[in-house]
């Protein structure tokens, strides 16, 4: 009678290592955000009159261009997830009670999701020439300012 010897086995496959993917995400999104955020600051705070020139018409001008829509959408998603994950790391470090820690992390991700949904909807349902705008607040390309 032969004896069956179990072959040596490594530990059974682990579940997804979220901490590892979080670590990778911080670095990948961080590099992308350097380009996205500095581009954003350059276009909004450096070019022309900077902060002084920012109003509804300025935003409308930018978001009439799919380039800036995609730019801001990427920045919104990457930055909020990057920031929320960073805050999660800090909460994990300093929260002493497990219940408090879990609650704070839940609040962080809930806030993150809410703002990503809000921001995405705003970018893609945005109307540069809304009916409730007075002509002087609207960009020059709106029909109301074309007469």
């Amino acid at each position: 009678m032969s004896i069956v010897i179990e072959p040596p086995r490594t530990a059974k496959p682990k579940r997804t290592n979220w901490e590892k993917w979080g670590w990778i995400y911080m670095r990948v999104s961080g590099v992308a955000l350097i380009i996205l955020v500095f581009g954003h600051l350059f276009a909004n705070l450096w070019v022309g009159e900077g902060i002084k020139a920012i109003d509804f018409a300025f935003v409308a001008g930018k978001w009439s261009d799919p380039f800036w829509q995609v730019w801001d959408l990427l920045m919104l998603w990457l930055a909020l997830i990057h920031g929320t994950n960073g805050m999660r790391t800090i909460v994990n470090d300093y929260a002493e009670r497990e219940k408090t820690r879990k609650r704070l992390v839940w609040i962080l991700w809930a806030t993150c999701v809410a703002l990503i949904v809000l921001g995405t909807l705003v970018i893609y349902t945005f109307d540069p020439c809304p009916a409730n705008g007075t002509p002087e607040n609207l960009p020059s390309f709106c029909p109301v300012n074309q007469s």
Partner: protein, 124 residues
């Protein structure tokens, strides 16, 4: 007499303080981001609502706070590259101290170039 800790990559000296600064600037940028998504969302409500709120960004006090925000972003961005280099570059940990001062210098130079122009826009 126990001697003072010599300091390692992480404890004491530049390694620790860059970590502290990275956290503080990160938290500051995070809370600004929350506010900034909300204020930008006002464009969907009405042009007037957005213009009224964005006008506060042009006031002297918030204008100065924006310098702090830009300084925080500059440090966090370049120190982030330093962290990546410590992780992935074979000589990263050897040069982490020097890289910290490179980070501070680059951030300071860009800040020094940006500040007069921004102050001109806020106060001019």
């Amino acid at each position: 007499m126990p001697s003072k800790p010599a300091g390692t990559l992480y404890r004491g000296k530049v390694g620790m303080w860059s970590w502290v600064l990275h956290r503080i600037t990160g938290v500051a940028i995070f809370f600004f981001l929350l506010v900034h998504v909300l204020d930008t969302s006002l464009v969907r409500l009405s042009p007037e609502a957005y213009d009224v709120v964005i006008a506060t960004y042009k006031t002297p006090i918030i204008g100065l706070a924006e310098l702090g925000l830009v300084a925080a972003i500059l440090f966090h961005a370049f120190n982030g590259i330093r962290i990546i280099l410590i992780d992935f570059w074979s000589k990263g940990s050897k040069y982490q101290n020097a890289m910290f001062w490179v980070v501070v210098s680059i951030a300071f130079v860009i800040f020094a170039i940006f500040t007069p122009r921004h102050l001109g826009n806020v106060f001019g």
